[in-house]
């Protein structure tokens, strides 16, 4: 019944000088999941990852790997491997020597190592390059070798430190799929660090959004996107509009608010909402324009627009606020709303969310 946790982070704090990198962070990473730590730079995600690898020590708190406290265990004695952001392949070794390095240190016998190295190189489609050196590879190929090298010893947890950030866009997208299927095939727990929300949403089973050294929200990608816990999460994940509203009444998971446009609506809310001032978050793609408008509607002036082919982004003005909306160009004549005109804007109540101000 009780699913075992691969990693348990318990009340971990870390200061760098007077800078608080982590403030009593606690969370669990489940066995066999693709877990992502997402956040802007300086949010503490990399520090957490480096603590799991053993390159940093928490000032307070504990980190458990399959129930065992690992804080005092040096990196080379943890059954955890890392894919580094810069790949960190050994430049003086061939690719197979790179992949074999960890296995040799674990004391595997030669024949087993040879088989395992071959198997891993094949798995990342690099078996033809076994005797090359890292300098002779492209970025994407180095990435694959870094993965093969880290996966070869069959670690309890694989740590990935922004491994896709150095690749170009197309390769990044291909590698996302590859990472996801590698995780499924191997069944190894992946802990992935990124600042790219799209990457996180695409690949993760669960995401921990970190900000200012704290967990802002932990949940499945859709939860994080659709039900952000606070302004920080709503703002960091995707795009959104924040409208100042007044809370008139609260229930367990909803709040009745007055919008800047005068309507009184009842929308989903976070638990910790009180009466008075609050923020209504509504995502641009959830606003429907013109003849598509339905639900709660109001009139807005079109300030500018950005035609992007599949979509058109509009900047609107209503009730003294600037509002961004995006409209799918469903037909050839999709982009018909003129700049400077007045357009009817509508949204469904359940697609908005009330957050603390």
């Amino acid at each position: 019944m009780n699913q075992q946790n691969a990693v348990e982070v318990n009340a971990v704090s870390k200061n760098f000088g007077s800078y608080q990198a982590l403030r009593s962070v606690s969370f669990n990473i489940r066995e066999n999941e693709f877990f992502t730590m997402l956040g802007p730079s300086g949010c503490g995600k990399t520090t957490l990852l480096r603590m799991m690898a053993g390159f940093e020590t928490p000032d307070a708190g504990s980190i458990r790997l399959h129930g065992r406290d690992i804080v005092d265990i040096p990196p080379h004695k943890r059954r955890v491997n890392t894919v580094f952001q810069s790949y960190a392949l050994f430049p003086h070794m061939t690719l197979s020597q790179n992949v074999a390095f960890g296995l040799e240190n674990l004391g595997w016998d030669k024949a087993t190592i040879r088989n395992r190295v071959g198997e891993m190189l094949e798995r990342v489609h690099m078996d033809a390059f076994a005797n090359r050196k890292p300098a002779q590879l492209s970025g994407g190929q180095r990435q694959r070798i870094a993965l093969a090298r880290a996966l070869a010893p069959d670690p309890e947890v694989l740590l990935l430190d922004e491994p896709l950030s150095a690749l170009d866009l197309k390769l990044r997208q291909a590698m996302r799929n590859e990472l996801r299927s590698l995780q499924r095939d191997t069944g190894i727990t992946f802990v992935f660090v990124t600042h790219d929300q799209e990457e996180a949403l695409d690949m993760s089973d669960r995401i921990a959004v970190l900000g200012s050294g704290e967990i802002q929200q932990l949940g499945a990608p859709s939860e994080i996107y659709e039900d952000p816990a606070n302004r920080f999460v709503a703002d960091f994940i995707g795009e959104t509009n924040f409208l100042d509203v007044e809370v008139l009444k609260t229930a367990s998971k909803t709040a009745t608010v007055r919008t800047p446009f005068g309507q009184v609506i009842t929308v989903p809310s976070t638990a910790a909402i009180g009466l008075g001032k609050a923020t209504l978050s509504i995502r641009p793609e959830k606003l429907n324009l013109g003849d598509q408008a339905e639900g709660i509607d109001f009139e807005a002036k079109v300030l500018s627009k950005q035609y992007l082919g599949g979509y058109t982004h509009y900047l609107l003005s209503a009730g003294g606020a600037e509002i961004r909306a995006s409209r799918r160009n469903a037909s050839r004549e999709g982009d018909v709303i003129p700049v400077g005109g007045i357009v009817n804007v509508g949204f469904v109540e359940t697609s908005a969310r009330v957050l603390a101000a």
Binding site: A53, G54, F55, P74, P75, H76, K77, V80, N81, T82, F84, S86, A88, L89, F90, P91, H92, T94, F101, G102, N105, L106, N131, R132, K133, R149, A150, P153
Partner: protein, 307 residues
């Protein structure tokens, strides 16, 4: 097609093509300095080594291999040649001393350089400055300082006196004293290039080695040493080459009891008044150095070529 081709610009503008020799001309001052300061003196030493010894010192130009012959053979009273090992022993001893100096410098310098490289920025520059500080003082003064440290009544014998060493003990005038001064003199030349190469070493490679179950020893042997080998090699050259020609340390510290090549050469140009012989030994020394350098160059070239 031809139309387009005719509009193609030449790869180099015309003026550049005409002035293609300009870069070589620009290097002329460098060539002149190299020629006069480096190549010419070597030729002169080479020429002197095959010259004839003058009757009252000096030499007469010519072609005479007596200088080289003297390294291995002694001329007896009656003109017969007998093999002599004394100079070969000096050459061997000199190479041995230089080699031991190099190895000791290496063992001491690698941890020091590694430690300096791991320090934060400003402290790093201060430490590098401290390493170079001895060069600001005359070498003779530094060697004399060692004579005081090791000599009778000096700090080190006195310290050993606390453990019951005889009061009149001196640590001077032996091979150990020579070696201590040699290592002291040349160690900055090892620390600096090794530091530079460790400094360049990507720290995440060390983390990667640790992450892949490498303990400290494995990380040192399989990652740090191979990647800093070029720095270690240049440090070894910078120490070994001047150590071969060391004169001061063997004379002052070793008490001149053990003749070294440097002193031997100096003697031939000075009191011995046998310039061709001195030059022949110098050429031999140069050859040894060249052989070592070529060996290192071939080794590192082979390392590069290997796939």
């Amino acid at each position: 097609m031809t139309d387009i081709a005719s509009h193609h610009r030449p790869l180099l503008p015309r003026a550049h093509r005409r002035g293609i020799k300009l870069p070589y001309l620009g290097l002329l001052p460098a060539w002149l300095i190299m020629g006069f300061a480096l190549i010419l003196p070597i030729f002169i030493v080479g020429a002197v080594s095959v010259a004839t010894r003058g009757a009252y010192g000096g030499f007469d130009w010519g072609f005479d291999l007596t200088g080289y012959r003297q390294i291995v053979f002694n001329e007896g009273w009656t003109g017969e040649m007998e093999f002599t090992a004394q100079y070969l022993i000096i050459i061997f001893r000199t190479i041995l001393l230089a080699a031991i100096t190099t190895i000791l410098c290496l063992i001491l310098a690698v941890p020091v350089a590694y430690w300096i490289a791991s320090q934060p920025g400003h402290r790093k520059s201060i430490l590098v400055f401290l390493v170079t500080l001895p060069f600001w003082m005359s070498m003779i003064l530094r060697v004399y300082a060692w004579m005081i440290i090791l000599g009778k009544g000096g700090p080190l014998p006195r310290f050993l006196g606390l453990f019951g060493a005889p009061e009149e003990m001196t640590l001077m005038y032996n091979d150990g004293a020579t070696l201590a001064a040699m290592v002291y003199t040349y160690i900055p030349l090892m620390v600096l290039p090794v530091f530079a190469s460790i400094e360049k070493l990507d720290g995440t490679l060390i983390e990667a080695a640790r992450d892949l179950y490498g303990n400290r020893w494995v990380t040192l042997r399989r990652v740090i040493l191979p990647l800093t080998a070029p720095g270690i090699a240049s440090g070894a050259i910078l120490v070994f080459v001047p150590a071969l020609g060391a004169v001061l340390e063997p004379i002052l510290m070793g008490g001149g009891k053990q003749m070294m090549m440097g002193s031997l050469i100096q003697l031939q140009f000075g009191g011995g008044r046998n310039w061709p012989f001195g030059a022949a030994i110098a050429v031999t020394l140069l050859t040894v150095v060249m052989l070592v350098l070529i060996a290192i160059a071939i080794r590192s070239a082979r390392r590069e070529i290997k796939p």
